[in-house]
Each structure stands twice: as structure tokens, then as C-alpha cells.
Symmetry: C2
């Protein structure tokens, strides 16, 4: 297997931003098309779905799906249904997480959250319909021989064992439903938070990569490398996100910052300090880059992304 000629540290932040811009130019018209419905769809619902998805955003999950496909010799067109599906799932999870009964957020990506721009019932239904559409797009668009596995991967990732389970345990910790947790040692509480983050955030990164690989017809050894990349990348991303919450400005991040400290939520930066947390993120990014590099030259965007993700300011 060829090795990627660049270490990844050679890929500049400007290159990564340009690469993400190419992803956006490719995927946004396809997201628009995916959110165009027949006359049977409820107009206000469709408006809310489009508001939630066709919004500013990094398109990180579509990028992972498309770049995973490229890294495995597949086309972006083949991976487009996977890229759309993971973005719809991501967008739906944000809409529901922002609800008054959950995190009760008013601002998301610099704009009113969905239930603020519409209403609570519409926001709940918007999330529900986005989830259904994700599976429909994936089931219709992927090569038949991988559809079953792909839908099963997305179903597990979106469900009680990952995305939703992580959010539920996050609420449980925050609302004191876990009586034992509050009095547990710091290490236990930190481990609990990391387990939540792996499910709330890391799992959908892994799914994006796996679905992209599946769309490209990747063999098991390449899927395993994508997973190795994804695990390190996901953890690095989370630490970077926690650092932004601790240090970033609301204007740059586009959502409320300082939330974790305000809620007494444990994160790696609050436990080991900002500098140590940053070192850990950089080391994880290097691990991720190394895993991607062993996929060969086609994985260069993944290598660059791993390094970029820990240096970004938004």
C-alpha cells in the first residue's frame, strides 16, 4: 500500500479551508435537492428542514464521507448519498438538542435556533423528518450491495447506543439523574464525559467515514484504517471544541461559549488545564494523520484536516 508523501503538517490551513469550500460547493446543491419534496410534504415543515440544513456550517461530516471515498479510490458522486445522510442526521440532532426541553439554546451558527425561528412543535417534527430523509436518501442512492450494511451503520450510530444515547446520558449527568456520578472521583466523571462525547460526536464521524468507504467499495483493511483515523480525529476534535468553549469568542464560534464552565461540565481542558489539553489534541491529530497517510495519496485531505482541526478558531 502506497504511503502519503506529505506528513500532513505540510498542508496549510488555507489548503484545508479551500478543500472544505470545494466540499461545500459540491454538497450544498445536493442537500438542496435532497430537501426538495413533492406536494405531499407540509410546507412549513419543509421550510424548517431547509432552514436547519442549508445554513452556515463547516460541512465536516460530508467532507469526511467524500474524502473517505476518495481515499479508497471512489468518486464523490458515489459517496454523495452518504455525505447527505450524515449531514441530515447531524442537522436533526442539533435541532433537537437546542429544544427548550433539552439544552434550551436560542442561537446556533449565529442564527436563531429552529424552534426560535419557527416553533417548538415544528422543530420537533423537523428533526424527525430529517432523520427519516437521511435513511431514504442513503437507501436510494448507495450501490445495492452495500445498502443494508450502510443503513444498519447509520441506524446504530443515530440511535440509543450512540448519538441519542450520548445525549441522554449527557442530560442524565447534567440533571443529577445519576446520583452516584456527582460524588465520583474526577477521573471517573471525566471518563463518563468522554464516553458521552464518543457517542454524541465521535460516532457520527466514524459513520461518515465508514459510509464513504462503503460507497467506494473499500475492503475491510481500508475501512479499518478509516476507523483508526476517525477515533483519533474524533477525540482531537472534541478537545479542540472544548478549548474553543473555554477560550473562544462567541462571534467567531457562532454559538454561546463558556457553556461548559457555566454548567460545571467536566472537559479535558477544565481537568488537566488548557496547555496539556492542547498537547493531547495535537498528539491525537498526529495519530489520525498517520492512520490516514497509510491510505495513500488520495487521503491527503484527511491528513490535512486532522492537523487543521486542532488549530482552528471556529
Amino acid at each position: 500500500m502506497a504511503t502519503c508523501p506529505v506528513s500532513g503538517a505540510d498542508v496549510s490551513g488555507a489548503d484545508v479551508l479551500a478543500a472544505l469550500e470545494r466540499v461545500r460547493a459540491f454538497i450544498d446543491p445536493r442537500l438542496d435537492e435532497a430537501l426538495t419534496f413533492s406536494g405531499d410534504a407540509a410546507p412549513r415543515l419543509v421550510e424548517a428542514m431547509r432552514y436547519a440544513v442549508l445554513a452556515p456550517g463547516k460541512r465536516l461530516r460530508p467532507a469526511l464521507a467524500l474524502w473517505a471515498s476518495s481515499a479508497c479510490g471512489g468518486s464523490w458522486d458515489a459517496a454523495a448519498p452518504a455525505a447527505i445522510a450524515v449531514e441530515l442526521i447531524h442537522a436533526y440532532s442539533l435541532v433537537h438538542d437546542d429544544l427548550p426541553a433539552m439544552d434550551d439554546d436560542d442561537l446556533r451558527r449565529g442564527r436563531p435556533t429552529c424552534h426560535r425561528a419557527f416553533d417548538e412543535a415544528t422543530a420537533i417534527l423537523c428533526g424527525d423528518a430529517l432523520q427519516a430523509r437521511a435513511f431514504e436518501i442513503l437507501a436510494r442512492g448507495l450501490p445495492p450491495e452495500v445498502t443494508g450494511r450502510a443503513c444498519a451503520v447509520l441506524g446504530r450510530t443515530a440511535g440509543a447506543e450512540a448519538l441519542v444515547g450520548g445525549q441522554q446520558d449527557d442530560l442524565a449527568a447534567e440533571r443529577g439523574w445519576m446520583a452516584d456520578l456527582a460524588s465520583a472521583p474526577t477521573a471517573t466523571r471525566l471518563e463518563w464525559m468522554q464516553r458521552i462525547n464518543r457517542r454524541k460526536t465521535g460516532a457520527l464521524f466514524l459513520a461518515a467515514l465508514e459510509l464513504g468507504g462503503l460507497a467506494a467499495g473499500a475492503a475491510a483493511d481500508r475501512l479499518a484504517l478509516l476507523a483508526r483515523f476517525g477515533r483519533s480525529f474524533g477525540e482531537a476534535f472534541q478537545i479542540a471544541d472544548d478549548l474553543l468553549d473555554a477560550e473562544g469568542s462567541e462571534a467567531a464560534v457562532g454559538k454561546r461559549v463558556g457553556k461548559d464552565a457555566g454548567r460545571g461540565k467536566l472537559t479535558l481542558p477544565t481537568v488537566v488545564g488548557l496547555a496539556s489539553a492542547r498537547d493531547r489534541a495535537v498528539a491525537l491529530a498526529a495519530e489520525a494523520a498517520a492512520a490516514a497517510a497509510s491510505l495513500g495519496p488520495g487521503a491527503e485531505p484527511l491528513v490535512g484536516l486532522a492537523h487543521w482541526i486542532v488549530g482552528r478558531d471556529h
Copy 2:
């Protein structure tokens, strides 16, 4: 093609209840298994999912899936993933419809609704996770050659163009978001309600039948007969449901009755009167029974169900 030897009117209500009881005995342990997760799942979430699904209920949608499979020469085992998936989608839609931001119901099937028994955030997440699980079970369990189509059918049915779209338009009508509708002629308003019902209720019946047929490897002509059965059955069911709301007792029905009248919601019984509505339901049931009968003797339970559904008192 053999014709069903019974007219269906010969199938007694007791036979149908016994047949539904066999469905329950088959499907309930499988629903239990489908809601058994690894240690990654959030405990409170799993508890809520099991509460919402493993509850009293007719298991009508699983019955449609299993009986459609039988009618097309397939086994119940082959159709079990389809039967589980449609029941999980149905249960999730009830949990979300009952939420304070939606119908704000306290009672469902004679028990506290999910957000009453747990809390609002958990109920939202419970519905989300049930939907994801439905697709996971379907994708994993059906024969690979029909997985893509089956997941696409369920995705469309559960989404903006059917289940969720119907609920959204229902809210739109109720909350006066459709300014033109309030002043529209009765016929227009009734048609609007029927269009909502076809999406909120009828579509999932059709999906249950189609998925059951697909699991059995049914050809296009048999799938078309199942759809013909499903359309008439769905409309008959809806009228029967509206009649129960108008006439039934809360104790027998297991949920609040008289809701439609209280909300000024148009239904066929309120527009044409109880007797005419009942006649229409009986005629539709006969149409459904005729479509099922042309599938042959294996469709006897569907024939019986069509007649039973318009005579039931709960």
C-alpha cells in the same frame, strides 16, 4: 390466481381477535429483543423506549406486515424485521405526538404518556432512538436484495411526505397557520383532513403491507393488490377511529375521546353524520376485503381484519 374461499364476512370477530393474539405472541418477544441493547445505550432512554413499545396495543401494523407476507407465500420469520420496524415507527410517532408542544396528551393506551412517565427530554430522545432502531432492524434483517427498497419505503413513509408531513399539516390546521383553510367550504376542509389522515395513518399501513410483501419476495402484481387493500383499509380504519372518538367510551378506547369535537376538527362522521359514515366505512372494508381475497387463501386474516376493523369498539 386462486380466490379466497371465504367472503370475509364469514370470519368472526373472535377469529380476528384470536389471529391478532397470535401476532402478539409472535412479535412481542421479538420487540423485546429489538429493544435490548449493549452497554453503550443510555439506561433511562432504553427504559423509556421499552415503556413506549412494550405496552398494551393491537399490534395492527405488525399484523399487516406478517399477514401480507403470508398472503404472498412468505414466512413470518422473514417478515419479522418489517413488522418490528413499523411498530417502532408507530410507537415513536405516538410518543412525539403526545408531547406538550404537540397534542399535550397525558394518557395513552390507558397509561401515562411517555413524557409524563419519564420527562419531556427523555420522551423526545426516546422517539428519536426508536426511529433509528427501526431502520437498523429493517436494514439488518431483510433479505439483502430488498433492503434498499424497503429502507427507502420506510424513509419516505416516516418523513415529510407522509407521517411527519401529515402531523405538521394537522397542527397547521389546528393552530390557524393556514389562514385560508378556516374560511374554506366544508368539503375543502374535509378533503384537507382526509389528506392528513392518509399521510398520518394510512401511509404506515401501506408501508407495513409493502414491507411484508417485499420480505416474502412478492412480485409487482401482488404488491399492487396489497396496496389496493391498504388504501381502502386505511380509509375504513380512519372512519372507524373517528366514530370511536365521537361515540366510544374512554375506558374501552384507552385514551381521551371526544377530542375531535372539542377541537372543532372535521371528520367524516361530523360532516355526513354517524350513520352515513358507518355505511361508508363498511363499503370501504368490503373493497379492502375483495382486494385481499384476490391474493388467495393465504390472505384470509387480511380479509377478516378489514371487516372487523369497522365493527370494533376499541
